[in-house]
Amino acid sequence: MRTAVLLAIAIVMLVVWIFPVAWGLLTSFKTERDVLAYPPEVIFEPTLVNYHDVFFGGASIVPNLISSLIISGLTTALTMLFAIPAAYALARLDLPWKRATGFWVLATQMLPPVGLVIPYFLLLRKVGWTDTYQGLVLVYLTFALPFAIWLLVSYFEEIPREMEEAALLDRAGRLRALWHVILPQAKGGIAVTVIFVFLNSWNEFLFAVVLGGNTVRPVTVAMFNFISLEQTQWGRLAAAAMVGMAPVIALGLLAQQHIVKGLTVGAVKGGGRR
C-alpha cells in the first residue's frame, strides 16, 4: 500500500518535472503552424522536417555537436585527472594548511563569471588562444576543478576510515591502494561528478560565445541559428535542443548505474521499512 502511494507521488512529480522537456520533444515534431496553434495541440501530424534541417540543412549543427563533444570531453577528462587526486589529498591525507588551501580552492569557484569574461578575453588574446580548444578548455577548467574537487571531497569523506587504513598500511602501494580500493568505493560520487562537469561545460554559453569563434562553436551558440532576428523557428530550435541533450543523456544513462551500486535487495536507507 505504502509503495503504491509513493509510486503515485513519484509519477506525478515526474510528469510535472519533465513536462517542459516533453513539450519540447513534442514541439520538435511539429510544423511551425502547429507549434503556434492555440489551444496547444497534443495530437497533430508529426513531421521530421525539423530534424532534417537540424542535421542536413544549411545551418546543420553536426559540426557544432562535434565541437561540443571535444570541449566537454577534454574538460571532463582533464578535470577528473586533476581533481580526483587533489580531492583525495584534501579529504583524507595530511596536507599542510589543509583548511586554508581547501577553502581557497572553494573560493575560486566564487569568482563571478560576469567579472571574468573581460580578463579572460584579454589574456587569451595575448597568448593567441582565442577561438581555440585549448583556450576555452583552460578557462572551463578553472570553473570545473574547484567544483569537482569539492564534490569528490564529500564522497571521499564518506569512505570508512578502516578501509583506508588497511589499504595504506602497505607503504609501497599507496597509489595502488588509491586506485584499487578507494576509488571503487567512491564510484557513485565519481559518476555524479563526471555527469555534472560534462553537463556544465556542455551547456555553457557566455564564455563560449566570447572566447570562441568560427572554429570553436559549441551547440549552445549554434542553436541561435534558429533564433534569428526575424523569427524564432520553434520547431527547429526544439529539434536542436533535443539533439543537443542527447549526448548528455547518454552519458547520464551510462554513469547513473554506478550511483546506487550500494543498494542491496530489501535494504532501505533513512526512511521506513516496507
Binding site: Q109, E158, K269, G270
Partner: protein
C-alpha cells in the same frame, strides 16, 4: 613525512593550475574596479580609487538588486535541497522503475538554460498563448501574467531556476545516501528507533558534509545565474528580476561602464565568499 609528500604530489597539480589561471583575472577585476573605465565616455578614464564602491551606496538599483538576489538565492537553494533530498529518499524507496526515475529526474538540467528560458517565456508562461495559461484556465484558476507581473515574475524565475537545478541536489544526495553503510541501521532498528529518528540522528549527520557542499555550490550557481533569466525576462519587467549578476552584466556589457560593473562583481564575490565561509564552518562543526 612520507604521507605529506604523497599528499602534496596529489594536490599540487590542480592547485598550481588554479593559481595560474585565477590569480591574474582576480587582480584584473579588482584593479578595474578601482578605475574609471567607461567605454562610452573614454575621455573620462583614469584612476578612481574607491569611488566606484562609494557610488554603490547611493545607487538604489544596486540595493534593490541586492535584495532580489538574497530572496532569489535563499529561496531557490532551500527549495532545491528540500526537494532534491525528498526526491532522493523517495527514489531509494521505490524499487520499480528506479532507472527511469533517475533519468527523468535529471532531464530539466540537461536542457540548455538559454532554450529553457525561451521555452518558458513564449510557449509555457505567456498568458493567452502559453500552455500553463491554458491549463489554469481549464482548471478554473484564471489567467496570470507569470512573467509580466513584477511580483509573479520573481516567483516565476525562482521556479524556473529551481526546476532546472534541483536535479543536481537530487543526484548528489542520492549518491551520498546510497554510499552509506547499511549496518548502521541494523543497530538503530535494534534500538527501536523510528524512521524519522533514524533519519535525524543517523542519516542526516552522515550526509551533512554533502548537504553543505550542495548548498554552497547551488548558492554559487544561483548567484551567477544568467542565461535562463536573461532569456525569460531580460531582468524585467522593469528591474523586477534583475539579480546582482544580471546588474553587473548590464553595467559592464550593456552600459559599458566596466569599472563600475567590476565593482559590483567584486561586491558579489565578497558576499559569496562570506556566506561560503560561514557555511564552510558549519561543515566541520561536529
Amino acid at each position: 613525512m612520507r604521507e605529506r609528500r604523497f599528499a602534496l604530489a596529489l594536490f599540487l597539480p590542480a592547485f598550481v593550475l588554479l593559481v595560474a589561471t585565477t590569480t591574474l583575472p582576480l587582480i584584473y577585476l579588482l584593479w578595474s574596479s578601482s578605475q574609471r573605465i567607461d567605454l562610452t565616455m573614454p575621455w573620462m578614464s583614469g584612476t578612481a580609487g574607491l569611488e566606484n564602491y562609494a557610488k554603490l551606496g547611493g545607487d538604489t538599483r544596486f540595493w534593490q538588486s541586492l535584495k532580489l538576489t538574497l530572496i532569489y538565492t535563499g529561496t531557490t537553494v532551500v527549495l532545491q535541497v528540500l526537494i532534491g533530498l525528498g526526491l532522493a529518499l523517495l527514489v531509494l524507496q521505490v524499487r520499480a522503475g528506479q532507472a527511469i526515475l533517475r533519468i527523468g529526474a535529471i532531464l530539466p538540467i540537461v536542457l540548455a538554460p538559454v532554450v529553457a528560458g525561451l521555452f518558458w517565456r513564449s510557449l509555457v508562461l505567456a498568458p493567452d498563448f502559453g500552455i500553463l495559461d491554458f491549463v489554469t484556465r481549464a482548471l478554473g484558476l484564471g489567467s496570470y501574467n507569470w512573467l509580466g507581473d513584477p511580483q509573479l515574475a520573481l516567483v516565476s524565475v525562482i521556479a524556473i531556476h529551481t526546476w532546472q537545478w534541483t536535479p543536481f541536489a537530487f543526484l548528489v544526495l542520492l549518491a551520498s545516501l546510497a554510499a552509506l553503510p547499511p549496518d548502521l541501521y541494523e543497530a538503530a532498528r535494534l534500538d527501536r528507533a523510528g524512521p524519522w529518528q533514524r533519519f535525524r540522528h543517523i542519516t542526516l549527520p552522515l550526509i551533512r558534509p554533502a548537504i553543505v557542499i550542495v548548498v554552497i555550490l547551488r548558492m554559487v550557481t544561483a548567484l551567477s545565474a544568467f542565461a535562463a533569466i536573461f532569456a525569460a525576462t531580460g531582468g524585467g519587467p522593469g528591474s523586477a528580476t534583475e539579480i546582482l549578476n544580471l546588474y553587473a552584466y548590464r553595467l559592464s556589457f550593456t552600459e559599458l561602464n566596466i569599472g563600475y560593473g567590476a565593482a559590483v562583481a567584486a561586491v558579489l564575490l565578497l558576499i559569496t565568499l562570506s556566506v561560503a565561509f560561514f557555511l564552510f564552518a558549519l561543515r566541520r562543526a561536529r
